[in-house]
Symmetry: C2
Subunit: 595 residues, 2 copies
């Protein structure tokens, strides 16, 4: 099943929503120019389309297995990883001083979309490795950094995040895994972790586990949790790899999707580890990396839906069935000519382009927050980033299920047959709404820390920005009016959420929290699609600015309109649910929910 | 995983929405009384809860396989079918004169919900058998009826519907399967059929295939299609079973769900068959049975979501994670205390009760249309039934995916693990939006034959009935106002759809057709939940009418409120999409949807 990287749309979106010129002017982008970015995108696209896309179905059919204590992956997955590593893709956004490529997140995000579209399960291996890499980079000692990070950035070793335990899922305060000082500055780690993505495998020489555990004298709750680095094979101070370290996969989970990715129950049995940073700060350290991780998962949800859309689009062109209801002819036509099929495709396409815009906006905020020379600009970007993260994660992954199901529906009866491939996207994408903080957790973060804690200021600044965009948007077909209405409804919801926290009834905001997150996601998508409409209009007005071809800009305007007419109306329901859910949910008698 | 039949809600819904007293007064219900109905429901519940519910996971894990030309099912499925047949359940709604139980559809529908909740894949076997039984009953000769129907009603033989071919899915006019007269009044059938549910298996002694095929001199298109009865083993005129008849499964499909149900590619190689009714009327005959079949699939979508909801509800009570955000205590609580989890459960419960109300309303219309002594009442009921069918099918099965995904989300990370069971419901229910006419086909039927062809009269009559209900509904919390607003929006959508057909732009209605179907589904659900609120209020006002216990009626009122506050607002988005989709979908440049 072919995958074609949406290179033109990525190029447009990087400039229009990812503010690429500004990102290339940041200190972290030194030496990087538009041409190089373009070359990176093209190479990433080529890799995704050729080496990776074809491994997706094989990886699903022949999922990872635990055989005689070893995790066995389909050979096509192992081969693809070798190629991926040899081409230098693992460390694309890893710090250059530790042998990464040091590209800004904005550019890396575009590449990650392509890899996740090509093979989500595969892409988790480098993604988790970079997560562990970043943890070390932010909080590890120089010695540990130099000992581990170069091999991680180059993909010689991989990394994992060992957080969850059976009783400690959303609530990591319950972590019980134990760490005992060995007297030589290292620690013995004991305990089990569950849901560890790519927890063990044979694709690399060593695996660097980041493990949350408690020291013997640790305080209860959150403040007693520390972060440890536990390698699968011990690494001596001189870099030589030593003995096996009693960190292994007990079993693999049988999952609905992402079969190629081994999801491990991990056992640590006196496994030797290094403390990262200070004792008791483990959870804080996790939080500092959360934005990266959640942005990544949002991109995953989006990327799988993009692939599913392409797959459905191809089928809609190819499959001939039934006459057109309006043409008068009795000849059957390809199903893309049926209005409901076209509506399904358009709903996917418009939502996808809006999601791409918003995740690139977030990525640009991340780069700016990390690297802008002006501290005020950094701070402002950080606030925007923090606000956008639960949206990118929650909104793109809720949509992930909706959109992949629409894609499957285009296939009719064939959609339910696994060989068609549509089902895999529905199955694979489902995890993205769950892991890295369920979307309920995202929504809770969104109403509290991201909205109420700043009195709705960040939300309102984005709404104000949206109004400025709307003011420049054509009002043909009422486009500007429809966007302004959505902005007004968003503002009402912000006020409602802020008022609930102020009035000490956060439960009331929480009851409608997911609706509020979704409402804001669709609204931001509307702002960005309006921005795209305006940018496309400028290009159309000036032949010299049509680097992607005139049609691209015409189509972008049509898609922006489709978004506003077909997708944005969802805010009407969500807005009503935000304001109407609370009492009905909180007053509802618990006895009526007995089993 | 336990299943508890929602007996009290079924009892309430049968009276309130299924108009049971009127149904029991129909000629077809002669000899049936409330007490017997209750006994049937209790026995059906017991069977579903004990014999059937536990087979669901085994049937999923060990799906049907083709081994040496024979379809092999998991033994628990075969055993369950033996019990089911021996208890007389197969022919529950089959005509009594052919050894069925002859129960009205209204009662049978409630039983079918329970069986589909317990094991959807299993329930398809008796459901398809009854489909073939009904085809024969409506259109077969007396000789054929007596030869085949008693063994079908008693489950000694099963039945199938052989319609689809690779090029003939939604468009059955393309059927190419051939029938050649053998000169003795029988025919030789040649061709392949795909997607044949329970097409072959060893659970019964013989299988009665209903096959669409073309006679040598047949007209092209729809009018050349005839219906044939092709038994797996030939049945002699004296009822004795003779030779194997060259009708067999070539292969089984690998599906996303309903693994226990063998979905066959069937080959007919000179298989001998009987013509049913007149030549060239095959498709007409299928249409006469469509309402039954589509009602059944709507119930399927609903029933799987009911089971998923129960499963999630149990987990929400059991799983302890995170403190309450409002209580001030740091003790973790069971997750049902978290507002977003409670919202998810409530959204499921309220939608499910509305769906139950609407399918029972449709079932009552079916019984009335079939059996009311007054022809005008029959005709009126038929119009309502025809209108409700695409809603029950389309709305309940679209919701099926939404609701089972909500149930899975309640499980957090555990939801993605197959052992938990939540994933199976998501996978199983997905077929219901596809087969028996995709929901796109339902939506097309709904705008055209069901709305525009009668100038919106049936839709408006239901809206008027809704207004009468709203007039009796309490306006506490604005309930009546909210329902009236939904009714007004529904009327606008009806007018819009009718106008597009009148204006010769049916494409414009088709572009928003699924939104229109969903809008009407949620609106009808609102009317019925309002009716339930009123009925519950009456019971609460009179202690002697509280046969289900006071709490039941209080909870029903709370659920009706939850429906109106939390679920009904979805009509706002759909309404806007109905009116706004057309131009954006039809104007969209096809070149922007190129691959």
């Amino acid at each position: 099943m072919a995958y074609q990287a949406p290179l033109n749309d990525l190029r447009f979106a990087l400039h229009t929503h990812g503010r690429l010129p500004e990102i290339l002017a940041l200190p972290k982008s030194a030496g990087l120019d538009d041409e190089t970015v373009n070359a990176v995108l093209e190479e990433a696209a080529k890799f995704a389309e050729t080496a990776l896309a074809d491994t997706n179905r094989a990886g699903d059919l022949n999922g990872a297995k635990l055989v005689d204590g070893k995790v066995v992956c389909d050979p096509v997955i192992a081969n693809a990883f070798n190629e991926f590593r040899d081409a230098g893709w693992v460390g694309l956004r890893a710090a250059a001083e530790f042998d990464g490529q040091g590209l800004p997140m904005t550019v890396a995000a575009a590449c990650e979309e392509m890899w996740c579209s090509a093979n989500l399960a595969f892409s988790l291996l480098p993604m988790l490795t970079l997560g562990a890499f970043e943890a070390l980079n932010h909080h590890g000692s120089d010695a540990l950094k130099h000992l581990f990070m170069p091999n991680m950035a180059t993909g010689v070793w991989s990394g994992t995040m060992n957080l969850t335990e059976p009783q400690a899922g959303s609530d990591l305060a319950q972590v019980a895994c134990k760490a005992k000082p060995l007297g030589d500055g290292t620690y013995a780690i004991d305990g089990q972790k569950i849901f560890i993505t790519w927890g063990d495998h044979e694709l690399v020489d060593n695996i660097v586990h980041m493990v949350l555990a408690r020291l013997p004298d640790a305080a209860p709750g959150v403040k007693g949790i520390s972060l440890f680095l536990v390698p699968k094979y011990w690494v001596e101070a001189d870099g030589s790899v030593g003995a096996y370290n009693n960190a292994y996969a007990v079993s693999l989970e049988h999952k609905m999707g992402i079969h190629a990715s081994p999801t491990c129950v991990m056992a640590f049995e006196g496994a030797r580890g290094h403390l990262i940073g200070e004792a008791g700060k483990g959870l804080n350290y996790m939080f500092t990396m959360m934005n990266h991780a959640r942005l990544g998962v949002g991109i995953e949800g989006h990327a799988v839906a993009e692939r599913a859309y392409q797959h459905a689009l191809a089928y809609a062109h190819e499959r001939v069935q039934s006459r057109s209801i309006s043409s008068g002819s009795h000849e059957p036509v390809s199903i893309i000519h049926h209005p409901d099929v076209r509506r399904m495709l358009l709903q996917q396409k418009a939502t996808l382009e809006a999601q791409r815009a918003v995740y690139l906006q977030a990525a640009a905020a991340l780069d700016t927050a990390e690297s802008h020379p002006n501290p005020d600009a950094q701070k402002q970007a950080q606030a925007v980033l923090d606000f956008l993260i639960p949206i990118v994660k929650g909104w793109s992954t809720e949509n992930g299920t909706t959109l992949t199901n629409l894609a499957m529906q285009v296939f009719g009866g064939m959609g339910f047959i696994e060989e068609t491939g549509a089902a895999q996207f529905v199955r694979d994408v489902r995890i993205t709404a769950i892991y890295e903080g369920t979307n309920g957790i995202q929504a809770l973060d969104f109403i509290g820390r991201k909205t109420a804690s700043n009195g709705g200021a960040v939300a309102k600044a984005l709404i104000a920005e949206g109004r400025a965009v709307a003011a420049k948007l054509s009002n043909e077909q009422g486009l500007a009016d429809k966007l302004n209405r959505a902005l007004n409804l968003a503002e009402e919801s912000v006020d409602y959420v802020v008022a609930q926290f102020a009035g000490n009834t956060p439960d009331f905001a929480a009851a409608g929290s997911l609706a509020y997150l979704m409402q804001f996601g669709f609204t931001l998508g509307g702002i960005e699609m309006a921005r795209a409409h305006i940018a496309a209009g400028k290009a159309l007005a000036n032949e010299s600015e049509q680097s992607l071809g005139e049609d691209f800009y015409r189509n972008k305007q049509a898609t922006a309109r489709a978004y506003i007419d077909l997708v944005l109306p969802q805010v009407l329901s969500y807005h009503e649910q935000v304001l109407g859910s609370a009492a009905t949910v909180m007053d509802y008698p618990l006895s009526a929910l007995s089993v």
